[in-house]
Assembly symmetry: C2
Homo-oligomer: 409 residues x 2
């Protein structure tokens, strides 16, 4: 359903970078491209930019729709747009598809220039820190020295935190939602099972399934089903599905009996039809590796010491994947560094997925926070300066390449 | 390590039944055999019998070791034995491998008399109620009209509850630990993902992998990994593994990096080496289907109305698979029926697995409860009457057929 304030269709673009990127692993990424999308207008002083970082299954396509097709709605369209909590009448919002993802940026499906074949599982393992450094180059290209805010949820929240640590002078505000200072053993365990399902699918072919013209659909599907269970709360599942039967009665077999089975199979199959398996491995590994405190003997306060931003953190009461306690760890470490932190623990039945939903209290809070940023920056509704163009960009095919708002955790 | 009060090696036996068993699905199980093991002596009045029901990955081999080999220790050896909470100096304890399991009883690996080929996935879907009815025939064979107690944890607890409902005159006490009146949508979801991993493994061959000389090891392994995550609490995983690295440093790849990954892979591989995949499907389906309230419009109190037993229920604070709230539902429904219920919510960091561990408070409570049963029955340490033999039983191979105490959830 088109919103009454439907924003004009965004134009996805691709930025090419020729300078190799030094990765945390010690490897180096040679020339690469990133898919980028922007919303609103950059103001004359280049002070109103907001970088929105994506999580596992999302992309540069944050908001709006392509070609008038509501099915192509961006993954955070309820949050970003004209008159929305992150108001693109005031802010210039940037979405970047991360290096290694499969929605237009260079990733495992791309050709390795050294071999002329797809990278496959040989694509360098990239980390949250590498993404942040790659995003910094996008900002350089756009002429943005300092962000009004960097923002993200889940894995996107980790990027926002990393921005505040790695580039403190470039971040005025850091908005990190439903995130954590690192993954728990249980989180890593779920990722590992998902990866095993993919890697042991015979159609994975050691990551070179492209050459075989196949896709490890079964493994990807199982991986996605596991993910879905962890995105929803026990309560939300009980409310939405309970023990409802698919066909009213029991058939006593291994076909779908319960609604929840039908839902999960559908989600798994749909996902396996558009998501790249190597990218799934790569993104879950980036989640596992993120742990800024590790380089400080586990001291999160020391890890966050370089940060100069002001912070908004939020968590959701029924999120058991990134529980409120993990956000509180961040809040405590930031306060120990005398940083200014706003923190909200939002009562929601929707588990981790809540960060993508438009719970009124949550959106009101984000709106109020961005209103304050706008006041601090003395932004007006229609930015005055000439918009910075999108230099040196090639088009990427829009339709079908990025997930819609309903499937973006 | 052998216990100082090591009990004499139990003798597993097999009971053959020629009368078909009517199943809840409407199907009928023709002639079948059940593996049975007993401990202690049945007293003269046949009043001291305790039936111990097993969960997913366990068997009739409840206690003791075979041939002096500690690796063959029964799955609840810390609970059942001479001088233990369920004291076999007083009680005659019976373990039955359930129909459809893979440790000696008729199951998917057995030959279907109608075709001469293994049943495979065509083995009739059996339910908790079917198991209880099959166990009742074992008691008939042993000459036991009434149980001093029926006892089980998890899926075993569901059987104990079902006994109290289906055969109220035959159960004096029902001990149901870490169980639930039915599975939640989230529980079913985890089972469904595990089943999909097995069924979509190409070596599953529609359940006829026996004929191909292969086993769907990868699928079984993934299924077991998912199970393990849900048996442990988030806290227990954090304490046991945290983010510890396998080799001290990061290698930036998809091989094992974290200890938790190594542990899960090991558990998955070990399990896939001895557990039958069709049995895994069957047992998880029995878990899904159990829902005594369903036949009473969702009214658990009505479902439990026929019960006449006295009850001991227990749950563990960090068990998120069968949470304390689910046990409390049972307690409330039993009290509404004016049944006598003892209930303990035991503080444990070990999640669902706690029911298999010898937490002192937990074992003390079970011991006290069985002491009371013994007092009520005026049982003495050495039962006087002649032991009922094990009639009509053939030997089953002991070593390697049943899981040991460390892997029995």
């Amino acid at each position: 359903m088109a919103s009454p304030t439907e924003q004009p269709g965004p134009t996805p673009s691709r930025m090419a970078f020729d300078t190799p990127l030094a990765l945390k692993s010690g490897a180096s990424m040679p020339a690469y491209e990133l898919a980028v999308e922007t919303y609103g207008q950059l103001d004359a002083t280049h002070s109103n930019a907001v970088l929105v970082c994506h999580a596992l299954n999302a992309s540069h396509h944050v908001a709006g729709i392509y070609d008038g097709d509501p099915k192509t709605r961006g993954w955070w369209d309820n949050m970003v747009g004209p008159g929305k909590p992150v108001d693109t009448n005031r802010f210039f919002v940037i979405g970047v598809n991360n290096l290694g993802s499969c929605f237009g940026s260079t990733g495992p499906m791309s050709l390795d220039p050294a071999t002329g074949r797809p990278w496959g599982s040989r694509f360098p393992v990239v980390t949250v820190e590498d993404w942040v450094d790659a995003q910094a180059r996008v900002l350089d290209r756009l002429g943005i020295a300092r962000l009004a805010a960097v923002m993200g949820g889940s894995l996107g929240g980790m990027q926002a935190l990393s921005w505040a640590i790695r580039h403190p002078a470039r971040v005025a505000h850091c908005v990190a939602i439903a995130t954590a200072p690192n993954l728990s053993a249980q989180n890593i365990a779920f990722n590992e099972v998902a990866r095993r399902a993919i890697i042991t699918d015979p159609e994975f072919h050691g990551g070179d399934y492209y050459a075989h013209g196949v896709v490890p659909r079964q493994g990807l599907s199982v991986a996605r089903m596991i993910g879905h269970i962890t995105y929803l709360s026990d309560d939300a599942m009980a409310r939405k599905f309970g023990r409802s039967l698919r066909n009213g009665g029991l058939s006593y077999g291994y076909d779908v009996e319960f609604q929840i089975e039908s839902y999960l199979r559908y989600q798994g199959e749909k996902f396996s039809g558009y998501f790249d398996a190597n990218t799934y491995l790569l993104l879950t590994r980036a989640l596992d590796y993120f742990d800024p405190a590790a380089e400080h003997g586990g001291d999160l306060t020391a890890a966050l010491a370089p940060a100069r931003a002001r912070f908004l953190l939020a968590s959701f009461t029924t999120d058991w994947r990134f529980s409120p306690e993990r956000s509180r760890e961040l809040v405590r470490a930031l306060l120990a560094n005398r940083r200014e932190v706003s923190y909200a623990e939002i009562d929601s039945p929707h588990g981790h997925d809540a960060f993508l939903m438009d719970e009124p209290h949550y959106h009101d809070m984000v709106r109020a926070y961005f209103d304050r940023i706008a006041r601090d920056l003395r932004l007006e509704d229609a930015p005055r300066g000439a918009a910075h163009g999108r230099p040196n960009l090639r088009e990427v095919p829009p339709a079908g390449t990025a997930p819609s708002a309903r499937e973006s955790t």
